[in-house]
Amino acid sequence: MRGGDAAWVRYLLITIALGFLGVMLVAPLAAVFIEAFAKGAGAYWRNVTDPATLSALRLTLTAAAIAAPLNAVFGLAAAWAATRFDFKGRSLLITLIDLPFAVSPVIAGLIYVALLGSRTPLGGWLGGMGIEVIFATPGIVLATLFVTFPFVARELIPLMQEQGSDDEQAAVVLGADGWQTFRLVTLPRIRLALVYGLILANARAIGEFGAVSVVSGHIRGLTNTLPLHVEILYNEYNSVGAFAVASLLALFALATIGAKNALEWRLRRAREGGNGQ
């Protein structure tokens, strides 16, 4: 099957593919690190350990740490409801779960401003109680929740659909309660897919720019995430600083790709092994 194409066709296509990927993907990745170290390791280290960078890092990690477990719980609940039961409106539910992927990040931020901005009834009421949402940390967390909303659910639903519910039914017939069934029968079989969804969601949470930009208000040291900090430094013509912070995000992206591939390899092996482990 691999020998279908003539050798010259093979070499030509591989050359085109590698050339394209080299220009489009490898060059940008390399340039991030080269620009970051343009003024030497000392300048790089100063930018990376700058208090504003560290506070942006803290907020980015906080938002991701809140979004991840909430979306995981949601993904588990949605997958259980959508794959273990047959009910009217099931396919509508699955479509609605994917909705955030069709929404521009900028609009993802805008809808929270429309719901919770200081001029809206709800935002005004919360403001009256001293709770700031928009232009504050809660807004950033909400925007992050929205853009990472479907990741876990969309990994779990096809998998649990494929696995079917025979094992769970057997467990219930044998006297297990719902929680025991979930913890001892379902969870071990979907563990890898759950982690996979979380890795993707986490990458998006840490890198999100548009949605967070709209709700953040850009208050340096207060409501600045790492990607927003990159923008601020860049607009201040501090190129080395912007690329130094960008290199942290690029390293994280590489780690994400590594983890994703390792998991894909284990998932494939689990599926081929047949046992689902």
Partner: protein, 280 residues
């Protein structure tokens, strides 16, 4: 939600709890904020709406956004197909790394891709300098927007088309060969039609993603009104001027387009059957 009573009998527990929680969380995080935007738009008069959503500057932004997204999706359809073909059919040194790096645009924050593409394609950059000698300007022009959108859209095509190439039945190719078809005839008459649904699907996903893209574009676009100002940026600009109505009206037009595309993608995926149906 009414459907609760319309479910088929099951001995498994937890239906009410999980569906209730799913519906509540979905409503709070997704539906309620979208409804807030919609109610803001519906409170506008038709004249207000058209003035905000269809003014000359906004129309110019739709045009550049849609055209650049189309161009980028087409480029990705061609090169993404070649990349997918090589990854599935050939084994070459570094194959695994190449396969992994295709996901870079998914993993790399858009602000990072935005500033690094700008640096590469600005007149002093690695690619910008030689291109400038040829008289081609990329950064701060429409071409720059296309470059950024090609970057972020590539994995959609590769990751949709590659599984479809893997699923091709080798016997069909052998049969075409036995019946006297040349390799090119086999490809264009047998393989390509079989791969068309996946390619269309990947193209539409890349296009849909490009329409809403913000972070990777705004740095390289130059953002000149009427020329290189994309719609997503215009929404942010209106917000920064505290013109919430105009921002909402433009967003409503964009959402209508995105949802139409989402339906189209679901339709393509449904037609392709359920085997890769989860990628919509």
């Amino acid at each position: 939600m009414a459907p609760i009573r319309l479910k088929r009998y099951s001995i498994l527990p937890g239906f009410g709890l999980t569906l209730g929680y799913t519906s509540l969380y979905l409503s709070l995080i997704v539906l309620l904020p979208l409804a807030a935007l919609a109610s803001g738009v519906f409170s506008m008069t038709w004249a207000e709406f058209t003035r905000a959503a269809f003014s000359a500057r906004v129309m110019a932004s739709y045009k550049v956004t849609v055209l650049a997204s189309l161009a980028a999706a087409l480029i990705n359809a061609v090169f993404g197909f070649i990349v997918a073909w090589c990854l599935v059919r050939y084994r070459f040194p570094g194959w695994r790394v190449v396969d992994a790096i295709v996901d870079l645009p998914f993993a790399l924050p858009t602000a990072v891709s935005g500033i690094v593409l700008t640096a590469l394609y600005s007149p002093g950059g690695w690619f910008g300098a030689p291109l400038a000698k040829l008289g081609v300007k990329v950064a701060y022009t429409e071409l720059g927007i296309v470059v950024a959108l090609v970057f972020i859209g590539l994995p959609f095509v590769v990751r949709t088309v590659a599984p479809a190439i893997e699923d091709l039945d080798p016997e069909i190719e052998q049969a075409a060969g036995c019946l006297g078809a040349s390799r090119w005839q086999t490809f264009s008459k047998v393989l390509l039609p079989a791969l068309m649904p996946a390619l269309t699907s990947g193209f539409t996903m890349a296009f849909a993603r490009a329409l809403g893209e913000y972070g990777s574009v705004i740095f390289i676009a130059g953002n000149r009104p009427m020329k290189t100002e994309i719609t997503a940026l215009l929404i942010v600009t209106k917000l920064e001027q505290f013109d919430y109505k105009a921002a909402s009206a433009i967003a409503a037009v964009m959402l209508a387009g995105s949802f139409a595309l989402l339906l189209a993608i679901n339709y393509f995926e449904w037609r392709r059957g359920s085997r890769h149906g989860s990628t919509a």
